[in-house]
Symmetry: C2
Subunit: 233 residues, 2 copies
């Protein structure tokens, strides 16, 4: 077993390994579900756009797996604790229309990325940089905004249903994030202590008041995405 | 319409556009079906291996679409004639086990690649080079051989069923290739005249005797793949 502490950060229930593990599986699952969702696209060009996002998620998965292996941890072991919770999220938010698929790729993945970015700020600098690099979503906002706004111009009545779906995405994302934190003490501790175990200053951390700020930032970004789509209140 | 002959090679039923179009959709379809098949993998590592092949197919799709657009042709228009025939191939060869998925990725896609490579030899040099570059399948043989040989060592009785599936792949590939050639005069003419319309010498072409050689080469390569898998006669 390479997983048993070959290096300092190489033990299971290490917050860095947990963070890389959940994100590595999240990217593989995103690849998988986006590839499937792409079939609902109205044109080959639109299908290729979502398929391309899926392919990008896969390259991110590979980057994260390589880092996990560098830490002396078996990537399967690092990802395994998060498979069920992420698949539950996907099965509870399975899009039934092309527009829902687009909203999921932008609003759902966007919120998840915000959350991962916040946690990444609490771990060591190289890991933080690596995680931020795989969370860049070049062009995704423009694509989603164009697809949704065009569709809603043609059929404004669809907006209500789509907004409801977006709300479901948020609810399920929060619910599954709670499951992860309840299950992985390492990540919960990291979030509550602001990464103090890793020698970072409290200033970089998220104590209870910091935690409130974290959720406020994530909420703000979500509201901005919904407004961009024309689905704001 | 950009599809109406903006440049010399930019008309529909142009063999170069047809070849790029069929291949562009073939890569998108391969991405899509491999991504789906990856779910049958026994481990996350194996799943990621097939998902990674799918992601690579997508980047090839993108390369081909860019070239089609450079020729002044709308990629959707170029791909459209080949959607039904390629989806028929996939629906008739849908793998039901992980090993079948692996055999399809290696034997089925390998045979298709051989065929595209042969046709590519009949068109202009830059197109030929582009096509050959997207048909490189680095590491795929090693992966398939390892997966299949390991599985057959554990359960030798599975070999018969797997060989039967491989035969079905070949049958359906040939059948769909015939449909394409019957439907696309440009490609049939290219194959029969050996690219003479494009100013290539007959030496590079596939007249009727050349055509026999083409099929012999494809058959040989198929036989070699089956032998590598331990599924040869």
């Amino acid at each position: 077993m390479t997983a048993d502490g070959a290096v300092g950060t190489g033990t299971i229930q290490d917050p860095v390994v947990d963070l890389l593990g959940v994100l590595a599986y999240a990217e593989l699952a995103a690849f998988d579900h986006m590839a499937e969702d792409a079939r609902m696209a109205p044109t080959l060009t639109a299908r290729a756009a979502l398929s391309g996002m899926a392919a990008t998620e896969f390259t991110h998965h590979r980057t994260l797996v390589e880092r996990i292996a560098q830490l002396g941890v078996d990537p399967e072991t690092a990802m395994a604790p998060f498979v069920a919770v992420l698949e539950t999220y996907h099965s509870l938010t399975e899009p039934t229309t092309w527009l829902e698929a687009v909203v999921k790729a932008y609003v759902g993945d966007g919120m998840a990325a915000d959350f991962y970015r916040e946690i990444a700020a609490l771990v060591d600098e190289p890991t933080c940089e690596l995680i931020r690099s795989v969370l860049v979503e070049a062009g995704r906002a423009e694509f989603a905004v164009r697809e949704v706004r065009e569709a809603l111009t043609a059929r404004p009545a669809d907006a209500g249903r789509l907004a409801l779906y977006a709300r479901r995405l948020v609810g399920e994302a929060i619910s599954q994030a709670q499951h992860v934190l309840a299950d992985r003490e390492s990540l919960m501790t990291l979030l509550l202590t602001g990464g103090v175990d890793l020698g970072r200053t409290a200033a970089g951390g998220a104590d209870l008041s910091g935690l409130a700020g974290l959720f406020a930032r994530i909420t703000d970004q979500h509201t901005a995405r919904m407004a961009a789509l024309g689905l704001g209140n």
